[in-house]
């Protein structure tokens, strides 16, 4: 216990942040932009890490950071409103105060990928935890080979960060393929599972690292599709989602097989958890 008392900051104590802006993304997702209450710089994070957001009087929830790691002004989270806390966060307006603990978890291994091709595969709101990785790569674009973003979501109305995707699409150094599960005939883009995009995407499998985030079934099929195309399993990384409570490896709430997602993850390499993903209950 002495070690805990020696720590300068209590890891369970949220730091107050003020909401600057709430931006609607889709019918059930929104983005919160916040700044520290004390006027200082926001916490620094690495792509793929998450924070615990505390809605005072309601509860706490783990949310991946979705902003630019190089943005020294704002802390950004994109959230799907599905439970009490996230629905409460959705109702906040500029000026509201939210408690923030973090950042936590193992980040995407972006710094180790110099010179390699990157294939980023996102499903649904899984694009949010990948966005900081994309922004990080683009900030030093020349250091990497091809960068390909494959994004699958439910319908055209469910596409996240639509304006940003359009801006990225206009770049010549980034390939973006988007597909939806279903669409009315006025949609002129692709329809089909995100894995079908793997066959259309330009990358060199032997020098490719893949980052995947989305529903577990989608990640499983994507992993298989990448391996079939020749990407090494060790070069495939994915981000797992579980309910978190302490976020510091104490409570066991986020246990996934022998690992705790809050501290061993949320990002894992495929060999670390491919076996666990195939089991029915872990």
């Amino acid at each position: 216990m002495a070690a805990v008392i020696d720590k300068p900051v209590d890891p369970m104590m949220p730091v107050p942040y003020v909401v600057k802006r709430v931006r609607r993304e889709t019918h059930d997702t929104f983005t919160l932009e916040m700044v520290p209450f004390d006027g200082g710089p926001p916490l620094r994070f690495r792509p793929g890490q998450f924070n615990m957001l505390y809605l005072f009087g309601v509860g706490e929830v783990a949310i991946s950071i979705s902003g630019d790691p190089g943005d020294g002004a704002r802390l950004v989270h994109t959230i799907r409103a599905v439970g009490m806390v996230t629905k409460g966060l959705e109702r906040l307006r500029a000026g509201a105060v939210v408690g923030v603990r973090g950042p936590y978890g193992r980040p995407w291994p972006v710094d180790e990928q110099l010179g390699r091709d990157l294939v980023i595969v996102a499903g649904g709101i899984g694009l949010a935890p990948l966005r900081p990785a994309i922004l990080h790569l683009l900030a030093d674009r020349a250091a990497y080979g091809r960068i390909v973003l494959l994004y699958g979501t439910r319908s055209p109305a469910d596409i996240l960060y639509r304006r940003q995707l359009e801006r990225w699409r206009a770049r010549f150094d980034l390939d973006i393929l988007v597909t939806v599960d279903r669409a009315a005939v006025d949609w002129r883009g692709s329809v089909g599972l995100v894995t079908t995009l793997l066959g259309r995407a330009p990358f060199v499998p032997e020098k490719t690292t893949a980052l995947i985030c989305g529903p577990e079934i989608m990640m499983r099929y994507t992993m298989a599709g990448l391996v079939e195309r020749g990407v090494s399993e060790a070069a495939i990384h994915l981000s797992m989602e579980r309910n978190m409570k302490c976020a510091i490896g104490l409570c066991g709430h986020c246990q996934f097989g022998p690992t705790f997602i809050c501290k061993d993850g949320p990002v894992y390499s495929s060999p670390e958890i491919a076996g666990l993903l195939k089991q029915r209950e872990v």
């Binding site: 019918h27 059930d28 799907r80 599905v82 499903g123 649904g124 709101i125 699958g152 979501t153 439910r154 319908s155 109305a157 469910d158 597909t179 599960d181 279903r182 669409a183 009315a184 005939v185 949609w187 002129r188 883009g189 692709s190 329809v191 089909g192 599972l193 894995t195 079908t196 066959g199 259309r200 989305g214 529903p215 079934i217 989608m218 099929y221």
Partner: protein, 155 residues
């Protein structure tokens, strides 16, 4: 500019990899290159399915009409992919409408003739059924996952 034959295009496509020269010659006989503008209907649901297509570039939507939702796109077929397998499976009728979304360059192949030849030449028939079984299996798998509605509710 180099002269590219239909046979060489088909031979270099992964779908036809490993076929003998003779099989490739039979498969590409009576084939032709086609260019289809946006919104052209390639086939309609219920029509006799006599052809299939190797899409070289562009995008085709498979559409189905539902009284409640109107016309829906259930899948797109794009550059490098094969459009059409109903010519191989009774009752040899298209199951969906196929409409060009982005202008298409494709090779149209004579499915009905290949079906008939496969009845006589079982080696050729086997090669065709094996390849299309893999393609149909993959599309079924994708459709099943799409039906799971993995990404959550939308309304």
């Amino acid at each position: 500019m180099s002269f590219v034959t239909i046979e060489s295009i088909v031979a270099s496509h992964p779908f036809f990899a490993g076929l003998s020269e003779e099989s490739l010659r039979v498969i590409t006989a009576r084939s032709r290159q086609v260019e289809l503008p946006a919104d052209e209907i390639i086939f309609h649901e219920g029509e006799a399915a006599d052809h299939f297509y190797l899409i070289r570039s562009g995008r085709v939507a498979l559409e189905v009409h539902s009284p409640r939702r109107g016309r829906q796109t259930i899948q797109t077929i794009e550059g490098g992919e094969i459009l059409g397998w109903s010519w191989l499976v009774p009752p040899y009728q298209w199951r969906f409408d196929a409409r060009v979304i982005d202008p298409v360059e494709a090779i149209e192949l004579d499915g009905r003739r290949l079906r008939e030849l496969g009845e006589i030449d079982h080696d050729l028939g086997y090669e065709l059924y094996r390849r299309f079984a893999i393609l149909i299996g993959r599309r079924l798998e994708s459709t099943r996952i799409q039906l799971m509605d993995l990404y959550g509710s939308s309304n």
